[in-house]
């Protein structure tokens, strides 16, 4: 073995093994659920070093927990990132990511094609903290060039967007972000690292709702923030929370001290510590178990989604299907380029008859579940205009791909023909 030779493992191997060596004390092969709030100190000096972040170890499960840490390393590894921080939900992941970047009065840029909850979080709740978002049509590079300014602290996109079936030119958007000295922050929830690797295409930070495909079984809420570790926060010159002395840690500078995982340390040791949306160890365990089959599940999710999308595209009561895996999609080429293994299993279609027809369909299905989630083993359906996107104006709904006639499907792992029959019966 030479000095510089690194052993590489495939993503399937890493989905099962990364972060989870056998327990050092007991040899337990699976990751134990460390259902504990706190951890004893060796002595007062050890406690002081831990509180000063000068040694590695556990203090309190709001900050770190051994089970959650396995999940964090697993996700960081699958995304080819340097570090990850897990938290209670995808929404808290976004909150914590921005808390490490923003000061009151700051602005950031975001794609308008986002999960409706993200649009509400950014446009309404963040505003009350003095964090201002400018939404842009990120499918239009010229529009982004016009909108982006060096004053923006981040550019947030969802490359495979929920619910619109939109795929973005991630590398081109990353280049624009970097020209303006800001990180590209990517919500990779819908694609998962099995279908799309944002860090290979210019992204600097990834957020996840682990609630969805990563956990995969509709059991456990969770979120994650992943750091690539190559963004130079100091040279960018506009991130005092990362580069200036932190009064809560005796004047420590996070970027200087922790380098390529400084953003993650800041996010954990300040954001997670002070706002408290910790992930439970049991949810982490469920999510770790889910990820061990992520590669197999995503393969079948994509196969089933393509079959269902093909069926709907040829159905007389369906006016359109927006699935980037269909050659008819305007985003087919981008999907082939960025996610050749498949464009996920969440997509939208329009029913003839508008809002009322949409409501009637969700009430008529028998196998597919009418609920507000995605990324389950079960197939799911929702009418966004009457549920997830109902807080938006009709213009915002249409801009987000969630107009009155739109239905969103999250295709599960049942027999594809059963899913198709259920939709066929409900449509007729």
């Amino acid at each position: 073995m030479s000095k510089h030779t690194i052993k590489n493992y495939g993503i399937e191997t890493r989905a099962i093994h990364a972060g989870s060596r056998p327990d050092s004390e007991t040899g337990a092969r699976n990751t134990p659920i460390y259902q504990t709030t706190s951890y004893v100190f060796d002595d007062a000096d050890h406690a002081a070093d831990l509180f000063n972040l000068q040694t590695f170890g556990f203090i309190y499960s709001r900050l770190t927990n051994p089970t959650v840490a396995v999940l964090e390393e697993r996700i960081a590894n699958l995304e080819n990132g340097r570090a990850a921080v897990c938290c209670a939900s995808g929404h808290s992941a976004q909150f914590l990511a921005f808390f490490s970047l923003m000061e009151p009065g700051d602005r950031f840029l975001a794609s308008r094609n986002l999960y409706g909850g993200s649009i509400t979080q950014f446009g309404t709740s963040f505003k009350r903290l003095g964090w201002h978002v400018d939404f842009v049509d990120a499918t239009d590079l010229e529009a982004v060039k016009q909108a982006i300014t060096p004053d923006h602290k981040a550019f947030f996109i969802e490359p495979l967007a929920n619910p619109g079936g939109v795929v973005l030119d991630t590398q081109a958007l990353a280049d624009l972000a970097h020209e303006n000295n800001m990180p590209l922050v990517v919500d990779n929830t819908l694609a998962t690292p099995m279908l799309f690797q944002p860090f290979d295409h210019g992204a600097d930070i990834i957020t996840h709702s682990t609630t969805k495909f990563l956990a995969g079984h509709g059991t456990s809420m969770g979120g994650a923030i992943v750091e690539k570790g190559t963004f130079d926060w100091a040279t960018a010159g506009k991130y005092p929370t990362l580069c200036e002395p932190d009064p809560a840690y005796h004047g420590m500078r996070f970027f200087e001290t922790f380098g390529d995982f400084g953003f993650s340390m800041k996010t954990r040791c300040v954001g997670l510590r002070d706002f408290g949306p910790a992930m439970s160890p049991t949810n982490a365990f469920n999510t770790i178990t889910g990820i061990e089959t992520l590669h197999l599940r995503m393969e079948r999710h994509v196969q089933n989604a393509l079959k269902v999308a093909n069926f709907l595209e040829n159905h007389p009561k369906v006016s359109w299907v927006s699935y980037a895996g269909l050659p008819s999609s305007p985003y087919y080429e981008l999907a082939q380029k960025y996610m050749p293994k498949g464009a996920g299993s969440v997509f939208t279609f329009g029913v003839k008859g508008g809002y009322e027809a949409g409501v009637k369909l969700v009430e008529s299905v028998n196998l597919i579940s009418h609920l507000a989630n995605i990324g389950d083993t079960r197939s799911l359906i929702i009418h966004p205009a009457s549920t997830t996107h109902r807080q938006l104006t009709e213009d915002q709904q249409i801009a987000a791909g969630a107009g009155p006639d739109v239905l969103r499907l999250s295709i599960g792992l049942e027999t594809a023909d059963d899913i198709i029959r259920d939709l066929d019966e409900a449509l007729s």
Partner: protein, 163 residues
Amino acid sequence: MTALSYANEYLTDLLQSVKTVAMVGASAKTNRPSYFVMKYLQGKGYRVIPVNPGLAGGEILGEKVYSSLSDIPHTFEMVDIFRNSEAAGVITDEAIALREEKGIKVIWMQLTVRNDEACVRAEDAGLDVIMDRCPKIEYGRLFGELSWGGINSGIISSKRLKR
């Protein structure tokens, strides 16, 4: 510049072979990285000798501070450099000259410190050279502690961890 990569097995062997470290650029300030790297390494059983001309004669964490590598009156296997990349070249040459007298085997340059020319000179003189890495972070990564903070160790193993 090409990215540096060091095999896990190589770093593990190296960190297990070293007993005494001369730390150039050691600080007495408790919030400086050099101070808590020194403290961490002491906790893992290493003896760390601080080198800093401005603090020579004083003590850091129970160890006497020397003004240069040549002043240290005993052997040490590793030089850990907490100085800028240019200064690292001068220190490396000093270490090459002292390698037989002091038993020096390893030059370790801290995170962000890299001097490729000095690296070639030291390797030609038979020394092992690590650049742009922190021994505390690498020790923590290889022996499982860094993973506690959600950091990607890159390690895949079905073997129980032995520290």
